[in-house]
């Protein structure tokens, strides 16, 4: 049987054609995230070798791949923490690779980023961590912020830990607080770096359900880097598999599972 997967192709204009992306934006059709021909190397080591991807509003893309294949780097490129060596990144139709810091910061305010190791501010309490983006980017009153923080923490089951310091929490608890912080400003794009790693199965399922809920209710576009195939199957509309800097395959979970490509089969074999 011929494999039914498709290699990564864009349904957006060709590289460099910014006008077309802007037209798409004006027509209300610009995908939330578009990556085109993205290259990134560190000290002569090629990490990403021409990645093309796109994610629309309300959709979730799971990025899989072996450790060290540049999955986290991909997320950091999207949020502007690294600059690509070449290629373009469009966020809601706006090219960010050549934008100035102020423009990038404005775009960043529409994104929520969950770091692999939570990256909570260790001099702030749980409450202050989640409040941090609200204090910086909204005009909410103190009581409005306090209520919003409580709601967000309740959403990840951490409402009773308001006054604890990050150092007093387990890795899984830190991750849940970090997720609440990433959701604080109601982002249109959610970048999640291994959201369920180190979490128990019940919390992992709750996090998956939360991502699905955001996808349905708020049209949030999510890119999830994960090694958790079960989670990828549950939350992702599409899955892309990175290998040696390239996106070797993209499709639904079922399509990838049926693939007869040796590497893809090897990757999915462990969980089958």
């Amino acid at each position: 049987m011929t494999p039914s997967y498709q290699t990564v192709t864009l349904q957006v204009p060709e590289s460099g054609d910014h006008r077309a992306v802007k037209n798409a934006e004006r027509n209300g059709a610009a995908p939330a995230v578009v990556l085109r021909g993205l290259h990134k190397s560190f000290d002569n080591q090629v990490v990403l070798n021409g990645i093309d991807l796109q994610v629309g509003g309300g959709k979730t893309l799971a990025v899989l791949g072996r450790s060290g294949t540049g999955k986290s780097v991909l997320l950091k490129l999207i949020v502007g923490l690294h600059k690509p060596d070449s290629g373009s990144i469009f966020i809601h139709g706006q090219e960010i690779t050549n934008s100035n810091l102020e423009a990038v910061n404005e775009i960043r305010k529409t994104m929520g980023f969950l770091f692999q190791h939570a990256a909570l501010y260790d001099s702030l309490t749980v409450e202050e961590n989640v409040e941090f983006p609200l204090r910086r980017h909204t005009k909410m009153t103190t009581s409005e912020r306090a209520n919003r923080v409580k709601d967000l923490l309740a959403g990840v089951g951490m409402e009773s830990e308001l006054n604890k310091m990050p150092g007093d929490l387990s890795g899984g608890m830190q991750k849940r607080v970090a997720l609440a912080r990433a959701l604080a400003i109601e982002p249109g794009i959610l970048l999640l770096d291994e959201p369920t790693a180190g979490l128990d199965p019940i919390t992992s399922r709750e996090i998956d359900e939360l991502i699905l809920k955001l996808q349905e209710e708020r049209d949030v576009a999510s890119i999830v880097v994960t090694h958790d195939l079960h989670s990828a199957k549950t939350i992702a509309d599409r899955i892309v598999l990175l290998h040696e800097g390239n996106a070797v395959i993209e499709g639904t979970f079922e399509e990838l599972e049926r693939s007869d490509d040796e590497f893809v089969a090897e990757f999915f074999k462990r969980d089958s």
């Binding site: 502007g80 923490l81 910061n105 980023f113 501010y121 260790d122 983006p133 910086r136």
Partner: protein, 282 residues
């Protein structure tokens, strides 16, 4: 043993690659430190430019600045005062012995006051703060860098060069002159106590004798040169912290290099500023 010409050519020919490799390694061992040194200054320049750019834009981070003023100022006060007092007491004991030998005992208050206000007060404050605050900032920002807290801040649209670096640098600049005043005062008090234990003299008389002939510039310029020390400590510590890499070992390196480099630059600046003060306030 006698070698003929062809033997020598053979010997030279075989050794040529070794000689080239030796030349390359000597060149590398000379060039790499120079390259690293220039690279460090280049990165420092970029860092300062980013901080300056961040400075002129809102918000001005008043809350964080107040927190840092407390961190740099109030929390350094006991150590700075203690160091100042120790220097004042030692200075009184040592100077007394020497001045008596030369029959200039009456000059003791002047010697103590001038030594403390002109040199020991500012330098001791600079070195104590570069040790306490420099290590603290280097380790804190280094730890934030390696645990991706600075990345998290940037990814949420907050400029860390303003929130973390500018506030700390400004706090160091504002607090160093005030801490110097504290070091000067405790040094004078300790100097008077050490002196009065040997030969009782009222504090008023001691100060009156000490400040006789002193002008306002004797006090002002040396004290305010510590604002430059503060700038050096703040910039170096923030820079070393924010470029930290390599886990906990990297954090340790950042803390150590913050102290070493800021102390070194404080001493260098002291020499240059002392010369300038002598030129402009003779």
């Amino acid at each position: 043993m006698i070698h003929n010409a062809s033997d020598s050519r053979l010997w030279i020919g075989q050794d040529a690659p070794q000689a080239r490799s030796l030349t390359r390694s000597i060149r590398a061992s000379l060039w790499n430190p120079i390259n690293g040194f220039l690279e460090w200054f280049g990165e420092l320049g970029i860092f300062i430019w980013r901080v300056l750019r961040a400075t002129v834009r809102r918000p001005f981070e008043g809350r964080e600045l107040i927190r840092q003023l407390d961190e740099v100022g109030s929390k350094s006060l006991p150590m700075v005062a203690l160091a100042g007092a120790a220097i004042g007491a030692v200075l009184a004991l040592e100077s007394r012995h020497s001045l008596i030998r030369f029959g200039a005992k009456a000059m003791l208050p002047v010697a103590i006051v001038f030594s403390i206000i002109h040199e020991t007060g500012p330098v001791v404050t600079g070195l104590v703060v570069s040790g306490r605050v420099g290590a603290g900032i280097g380790a804190e920002l280094g730890s934030m860098r390696v645990t991706e807290q600075i990345d998290a801040m940037e990814s949420s649209g907050v400029n860390p060069y303003k929130l973390l670096a500018f506030t700390r640098i400004l706090a160091c600049v504002l607090m160093l002159p005030l801490l110097t005043l504290a070091a000067d005062f405790s040094g004078l008090v300790a100097g008077w106590i050490a002196n009065t234990l040997a030969e009782p003299i009222s504090f008023h008389k001691f100060l009156h004798a000490g400040f006789a002939g002193a002008s306002f510039s004797d006090f002002l310029a040396p004290t305010f040169r510590t604002a430059v020390f503060g700038l050096i400590i703040g910039v170096i510590a923030c820079f070393q912290g924010m470029r930290s890499q390599g886990g906990t070992e990297g954090v340790g390196r950042s803390a150590t290099s913050s102290v070493v480099l800021s102390s070194l630059f404080v001493m260098l600046a002291d020499v240059i500023l002392t010369k300038l003060i002598l030129v402009f306030f003779p």
